[in-house]
Amino acid sequence: MPAFRRLSTKYAVAIAAVLLLGMALVLALAGYFVYRGTNELRDELAASFSEIQSQYDQRTLRASSTYLSRRLFNPLYHLDMTALNAEIARINAWLEPRSVLILDEQGGVVTDGTLANAGHGRIASVPERLSEQPSLIEETENGDRLYFRIAHGDETIGYGRIDFSDARERALLKGMHAQIEAAWERFEDWFLSIGAIGLIVALLVSLAIGWRLSISLSRPLREMSDAAEQFASGNLSHQLPTQAEDELGRLAASLNRMAADLQKAGRVLHRAQEIAAFGSWEWRPGRETLQLSHGVYLILGLDSGTEPYRIDDLVQAAIPQDRDQLAQVLQGAFETMVSFELRIRRRDGKLRTVRIKGESECEENGRLVASFGTIQDITEQQQAQAQLMRLANFDTLTGLPNRNLFYDRLRHAVQKTRRDGGQVALFFLDLDRFKEINDALGHDVGDALLRTAAQRLSDMVRGCDTLARMGGDEFTLMIEGVSATQSPSAVACKLIDALSAPFELAGQELFVSASVGIALFPQDADDLETLIKHADIAMYAAKEKGEGSFRFFTSALQRTASERLALEHQLRAALDQGELRLQFQPQVRVEDAVPVGIEALLRWGDGESSVSPGRFVPVLESSGLITRVTQPVLREAGAALAASRVRGFADLRVSVNLSARQLRQPELIGQIESTLAEFDLRPEQLEIEITESTLLDNEQCQSNAVQLAALGVRLAIDDFGTGYSSLTYLKRFDVDALKVDRSFVKDMLEDQDDALIVHAVVGLASGLGIESVAEGVELAAQRAQLRKQGCDLIQGYLIARPMPLPELLDWLDARPPDHDAATMGPS
């Protein structure tokens, strides 16, 4: 029976059975057709033989009749009965007829060949047709009858009639049938013998072919089976022969490739375990050693697979407090996977943190079969997680808690306060003028400033307080348990004082101040979000109040903020409905009051319903709506110049104020070009006014400024002297004019400092070869002073108030144009 379990035997039996069935079927079919054909052939043969015999007999008889006619002529002619009888005797011996009659010309019987000649003289009928032919054969009941003429030439002297019995033919056929039957029986015996031999031969051939095929089929399978066992035992270098090009050969090649891939994968896995610091372990009851993968050896700092690794060695590698738990995992039985982290000391002395996982395989009766699991070095992973934690919760620049951590702590504090009572003070602190310093001195200085400021703030707060950096130059401080000694005001003062001292950075002293907004929980807000918002409002209020101040949140501030929000909504509607329009204030030469240009000033509403630019422009700026007015302002200014040109002031120029946000609009250059083209203006008829800090804003601002200069558009610095200025920029960006801020002009007659500033600015412009424009000139004395100082242009109520375009045109009509004004340079 084992032999039948072998694939080769199964193949052999199956193939042999199929072949045998096939051959047996072919043999049976062939035998059937041969048997049937031969069987049918018997009757056909007999019939054919009978017919052939009959035809042969008739041919023989016809031939014989001719011969007999010649032989019988003379005896009959001489009535030689003896000779006739002798001829008849010869005929009888020769043809074995039933009877022979020699007839005379009238059909009378001459002799029947016997001595008795009983029918002599009797008339026998002779077929008439015989006269037309030498002989004829008639069929009788028992055979054939041959008639032939006995004649010589045309002379017929008698007839011969020979009756043939078909008994001979029947006997012949019977004999032939007997012979055929005997042959048939022999054939049947032979056929059965051949069939039996054929079946035996077919069986032997089938078995031989089947066995040979099974060998050829099963050998590769056996080789593959052996190879699979080799692969399973880890010998992946085993190679299968792949000479055959059939499916088995391709399968063998595939197995070889698979083994090669497995080897490669094994190497990759080793490498992966090395990279992932990962490995597996297995222990079986009764053994003192562990089966460890390559990766575990690497984790433990050992050479891979040098010696069987003892359980105690691994337990002893763990730090003492983890050893018991490790031993339990390695040798324990668990229903589900267990996992814990422990620290081990490698052979090289390094302390590593590893995560060990273990699970068990038990029999049905609960007996432990094996424990196995994985070991992973998670030291770097834990370090990375800690780093991620720091990055997620602390500001990398200052080391202070960031917005996430601060809000989390604030949330806890609010909840605690809500639960336990007490008070939480939230401080929003914003460094004043930090942006200007950062822009002017660079980010490195700005970052250093922030780190120093954070350090100063940290130094003054308690350990239980939370100081955080929210981003940019904004800091927050949360104080729990507000008390008299730790009043918010006092803390705010401390904060402001801490930053009031100069910062020694980049080799210079820098001064910054801070605006602080304070909101208290639960007085100022019921929830975290509201508390934060109110602190922010208070901070903005403090900024508006002035640098270095603090403000508590109040309901009034809330209203102001609300109003500001409402104003923003109204502005959006106004923009949609085109309610913001331009007014124009002329700029005239200080010497002769000839109009040189006009400054376009944005206005909202008329009369009492008008809104001060001081209110809505900051809202436009802070809300970003300011970018929406750029194109309309440019077009309206262009239209005003076009109108002025009609009135004869073709060289008049218009000044348009752009904020930093507007100047860095990418589409600005295109808008200006289209405006110039639309109203057929020369580039120098358009002057863009920007503040000193705008040029310092970012690279896009500077790029657009350079492009404007290249285009030929004038560039004027507004409010010059009120902010940080870089004289290098004045040259770099080809500035055409400096505008003296109205605050200096206003007090220049009384305040010597302002007078000096005005004088310095005008002098600077003169020195740079550019125009100086004084704005806010309201008094003739101011004009005189400015004229005296060399200022080129003035504008203000002394000349004209800002006015709508029609009024401007009327105003212009009242003054003759000066064609030299456009080309007038600084005096």
Binding site: H78, D80, L115, A116, N117, A118, H120
Partner: protein
């Protein structure tokens, strides 16, 4: 004397043997027959070979041998053979025997032979039953059909009867001349066989026919009723055994004894049966010799007639 005797002894023996040779080495006897089928010698050998062998076997103890059978194709050839001494014994019918005796003078008729069951026979003349011929004499101018020229009963005997009846006869020139015979002579034809004779007469090819009474008995019944015999001749012995040359009388006697006793010996009967169904040999009686004399005289008349 003694010397002469020693030298002359072989010569004397040779002379003695030579003188005694006729006694010690007799010439074989040779039996002669005339073949009824001259073209087939084997036919005669088949008939008479056994008889010759029997006689040889019987004579050998007597120091006599039988020589080869002498088969003659005709009477004349036999006569030549007898004349030159080639034939010692002769088996033949009466008329041939008598003719050979006349021709050679060496014939010694010695025994009567029963042949085909007959000791003797006679010839019958027959015609169609409705024929007007009632007597032999009425054959004048008619055509008679004989068997063959060498037939005794169907040629010689009827011719002798015609002569005895005072009729003359001559052979018909053509075979197909029935009814066209002129003159008073009896015309005769040869039919080749007794059977043909009967049919020819029945068919009208001849007015009458003649053969021996045994042939009449064998005439087919199909035609026999339409024929009738109108004349019968004197009987004639059936066959004869003759010595055709000089034979030692003792040997003759021994040979005659052997022949006469053959029918009593089964081997002899078989040899006799083979030889034309011979029943036996027997000595001639006086009546037989008288019969021979009659037919010898008739033969003489025939030959005389033929000579005319």
């Amino acid at each position: 004397m003694s010397v002469l005797s020693r030298q002359s002894a072989p010569l004397a023996l040779l002379i003695g043997l030579t003188l005694c040779w006729p006694v010690l080495a007799l010439e074989p006897l040779r039996l002669g027959v005339i073949n009824e089928r001259p073209d087939r010698p084997a036919y005669a050998l088949g008939l008479y070979g056994p008889l010759n062998a029997y006689l040889d076997a019987q004579l050998r103890p007597l120091g006599q041998r039988m020589g080869d059978l002498v088969i003659a194709r005709s009477l004349d050839e036999m006569a030549v053979r007898i004349s030159d001494g080639t034939v010692d014994l002769l088996l033949e019918g009466v008329m041939p025997t008598l003719k050979l005796r006349r021709k050679t003078g060496r014939i010694d008729v010695h025994l009567l032979v029963w042949r085909k069951g007959q000791r003797q026979y006679h010839t019958v003349f027959f015609a169609r039953r409705e024929s007007s011929i009632q007597r032999i004499e009425q054959l004048r101018g008619k055509v008679v059909v004989f068997e063959s020229p060498r037939s005794t009963s169907a040629y010689d005997v009827p011719r002798a009867a015609l002569i005895e009846a005072g009729l003359e006869f001559a052979e018909q020139p053509g075979a197909d001349t029935a009814g066209a015979v002129d003159g008073d002579r009896v015309r005769f034809l040869f039919a080749g066989s007794e059977l043909n004779q009967a049919y020819w007469v029945h068919a009208g090819r001849a007015h009458a026919g003649a053969f021996n009474n045994g042939d009449w008995e064998r005439t087919p019944e199909a035609i026999k009723p339409e024929l009738r015999i109108f004349h019968r001749t004197r009987p004639i012995l059936r066959w004869l055994f003759s010595f055709a040359g000089p034979v030692d009388p003792a040997l003759r006697a021994q040979l005659v004894e052997i022949l006469n006793g053959m029918h009593q010996d089964p081997e002899g009967r078989a040899a006799l049966a083979a030889a034309s169904r011979i029943a036996k040999f027997e000595p001639l009686t006086s009546a037989d010799r008288a019969n021979l004399t009659y037919w010898d005289e008739a033969l003489e008349r025939l030959e005389a007639g033929a000579g005319e």
